[in-house]
Every structure is written in C-alpha cells, then in structure tokens.
C-alpha cells in the first residue's frame, strides 16, 4: 500500500480541518420548507379533486400552519447569512444556474400565495369569520373564483420548493456525498411523508385518517427505495463517492443514519401505521413523532455528511 501524508498550512476557521460553514439553520430550514411544500401539495391537489369537504384537515386546516412554518424557516435562513445586511441582493438578480437564487424567488412568490390560500378557506372553517372591510371581501371573493388556478400554481411552486431543498445541495459539486440528483426527489418525498403523517394525526375523520396513513406508507416505501438508490449510485461512482458512501456504511454516520433515520424514522413508523390500518391500537402520536423527528434528522445528517465529504488531492 502506498501511504500519503498531507500536511496543510491552512487553518481557516469553519473551513479546516473539516468544513462546517452550515450549522443548524440550513437543515432546520430544509425541514420546514419540506413540510410546508408537502402540506400545500396535498391541500391544492385534493382541492382540484373537489374533496375539500371530505378531507377538511388536509385541505383547509393544515395550510394555516404554512405561513408560520415558512416564516420561521426564513428567519433561520437569515440567521445563517454572515453578511445579512446585503440579503436584498438576492432579489436584484435572477441566476438560473444557482439553485439558491431560484429558491429565494420561489419563497418570495409562495409565501404570499400560501397566505392567500389560507384566506380562501377561513370562512369555511370559522363560520362567524368577518373580514370587516369591503375591499378585503372583494379580494377574497376574487381569490375564491381563482381557486383552481391558484391550486395549480401552488402545486407547481410547492414541488419546486420541496425539490430545490435537495437540488440546492446536489449542485455543490465539491461535496461528493451531495453529488446525487436523487436528493431532490428524496427530500420532496420525505416532506410529503411528514405532512401526510401530520394530517392523519390531526384529522378527526376516519376516512381522512386512513387515506393519509395509506399515502404515508406508500411515501415511506418510496423513500426507502430512494435511500438504497442513493448508496447504489455512490458505490458505483468514483473513489470520492465511494468514500462518501462509506461514511454511512461503517463510518462516522452509520449508527445515527441507520438507527435513527431509517430504523426509528421510517421502518418502525411504517410498521406501526400498517398495524393501525389493521385496527390494532397504536397511540396516534407515536408514528407521527417518529416520522417528523426522522425527517429533521435526515436533513441534519445529510447537511453534515456532505460537509464532511470531500475531494482528495
């Protein structure tokens, strides 16, 4: 074996010896962005299918959380910026090659749209709701008339929001672990799965609960399939990609990933959900907490592992 010893004179803070420029802010935002996207996709999709009265929690109630989730996500994004007073520069440029740029623009458009989407349903959920001003009433009536168009736009933007959180990472070609386009669909699916679990937890109707439990089981199945493909892709890649995969196959991230994300965050809740569908008694809070915690953990581990993986030369 040929040994190599590399001595570096560089010791830039947060860069050396292991890159760690992103702390909790980015994975936390990715988590909130994913759940927001999932909630909006379900709400808009079932509106287009005209099932709003059958599935009230999914269509009308859950979107209320979205503007708050996005708001908290935006705050954590701003906390991450080291030159935050110049953040407005994001909106003086459109850079198609930079996922961070179109992510910023998507958020800029989807935030007001999600508020409009909540406003459309408020009178349905709270019968005594009064908008007080005639101008506002006119706007809400107009928005209601555009409900289907708004739903279509929301589905498109939410898919972009859910996907870009993963694509953002895969565009950084210096970090081999992130260099896989499957991260986009994986994050989208995991966001959808967490929101399906939340909907089924908060729902009071048996039809809605069972529908979203079934949807969640399918989504978790897809997630497991994508995780296997992620590693297959890396293992069939170059030396640096193989090394990146090995961080999860015996390396530093093995236990936290396979035990907490895959075991407790995907496999156990899916088993519990199947038992639930078979009318076994499972406390409803258990699968949803496991899924949401697994979701958060997945993003933390992916962000940290990506920063720990690198090209060697």
């Amino acid at each position: 074996m040929i040994e190599e010893i590399i001595t570096s004179g560089r010791m830039n803070p947060e860069i050396d010896p292991v890159l760690h420029v992103w702390g909790w802010e980015i994975p936390f935002y990715l988590f909130l962005g994913g759940i927001s996207a999932g909630i909006l996709i379900f709400s808009a999709y079932f509106t287009l299918r005209n099932r709003q009265d059958e599935l009230p929690v999914a269509v009308k109630w859950m979107p209320i959380a979205v503007p708050f989730l996005i708001g908290i996500g935006l705050i954590s994004l701003l906390l991450d910026l080291s030159h935050v007073l110049y953040a407005w520069q994001l909106f003086t440029n459109i850079r198609w090659e930079s996922p961070m740029s179109w992510g910023a623009w998507t958020l800029m458009i989807i935030t007001p749209l999600s508020i409009a989407w909540v406003a459309i349903w408020l009178e349905d959920i709270f019968p005594n709701w009064d908008w007080k001003f005639d101008e506002v009433k006119t706007i809400i009536e107009w928005l209601k008339a555009q409900r289907r168009i708004l739903a279509q736009v929301l589905i498109l933007l939410s898919i972009i929001l859910g996907m870009y959180t993963g694509i953002l990472l895969s565009a950084f070609n210096a970090r081999p672990f992130w260099n896989t386009s499957i991260l986009g669909p994986l994050f989208l699916t995991s966001g959808l799965s967490a929101s399906a679990a939340l909907i089924s937890y908060f729902s009071k109707s048996e039809v809605e609960k069972r529908l979203f439990t079934r949807i969640d089981i399918i989504l978790i199945g897809i997630e497991l399939f994508m995780i296997i493909h992620l590693f297959m892709g890396h293992l069939a890649g170059t030396q640096v990609h193989i090394q990146a995969a090995q961080m999860f196959l015996g390396g530093a991230f093995t236990v936290q990933f396979w035990v907490f994300v895959v075991g407790l965050g995907l496999v156990l809740p899916v088993v519990l959900e199947i038992l639930e569908l078979k009318h076994k008694y499972i406390p409803a809070i258990v699968p949803v907490v496991l899924i949401v915690a697994g979701n958060l953990m997945l993003r933390f581990i992916v962000v940290n592992a990506g920063q720990a993986s690198r090209w060697l030369y």
Binding site: E4, T7, E14, L81, H83, Y86, R95, P99
Partner: protein
Amino acid sequence: MRYAMAVDTLKCVGCNDCVVACQTENDVPIGHCRDWIIEKTTGTYPNLQLEIRSERCNHCANAPCVRTCPTEASHYAEGGIVLVEENECIGCKACITSCPYDARYIHPEGYIDKCTFCIHRVEKGQNPACVSVCPTHAMIFGDLDDPNSDISRAMATRKWKSLIPEAGTDPKVFYLI
C-alpha cells in the same frame, strides 16, 4: 487574455514567504489565509517522495462558486480572474461549499473572501505579491493566450498537472512536476 499561474514543485521549498506576502499585501485578517503551503509525502520509510506546493484559488474557467452564487457577487473579471464583490455578497456560503479546493473563507466582516491574483497589482503590470517575493522563483504568472509569455513557455516545455481536473472546474493554477 487568460491569466494563469504555475508553481514549480521542484523549486518550491515551502518557506511560506508567499503566504506572508499575501497577508501583508491584501491585509488578510489574522488567522486566515488566501494562499497556503501543502506538503505531501508519499510512500513508506525509507522510500519517500516529497512534493511541496503553494496553493490558492485556482481561478477556474468553469468555476462552481460563480455558478452557485445567487447574487453575482462571485464573478469573472478581466482575464478570467474569479473575484467576489463584497457589497453584493450575502454570506450564504454556497460558494464555499461548492469549491473543491476550499480556497475561500468567511471574512470577519461577513462577506466571503479569497485570492484575487492580486488584480490591483496585475492591472499595473506587476506580478501578484506571492510571485514577486518567491525566493526560489518557483512561481510564474502570466497570460496563457500569449505564446511568448513565461507561463506559456513553461507549460510547453515542462510536465505539469492541475489539481482535481476531474471535478470539471478547468483550474488555472498549474503545478510543474
């Protein structure tokens, strides 16, 4: 015009003069560096081989940092020099995570900073500070489009390599071997 740099690994002794010259010339904050020395020892004792390199931003022609920057703060200047416009930088660190050479750092004032090939000197016809102080003349700076430049001649007559060309970055710092 395509600016490039070549570092002669057979002449570099790793004295760190380039590092200090850069820090002085560019007022690099303490504890940070825009260029640095790498010593790579290959083999097992007693059969060892040593390579010493002075490294910095590679001013890639296909720079991932420029591609992923959401605000155009990272951009190509004249001659392909990759620069950061500090008043456009929001400090999102996308460029840091996309650089396979880890050549960038967060300036204590918040913006992202890196080697500029001493563009302020180059514009006056001078060499970058690191090149001009090198006691063994191990570094050559010049224009690759000019076949008579020192760097073009060195690249034509010597064997050379660049760092991680397989990352697809088309780096413009070369190592004569």
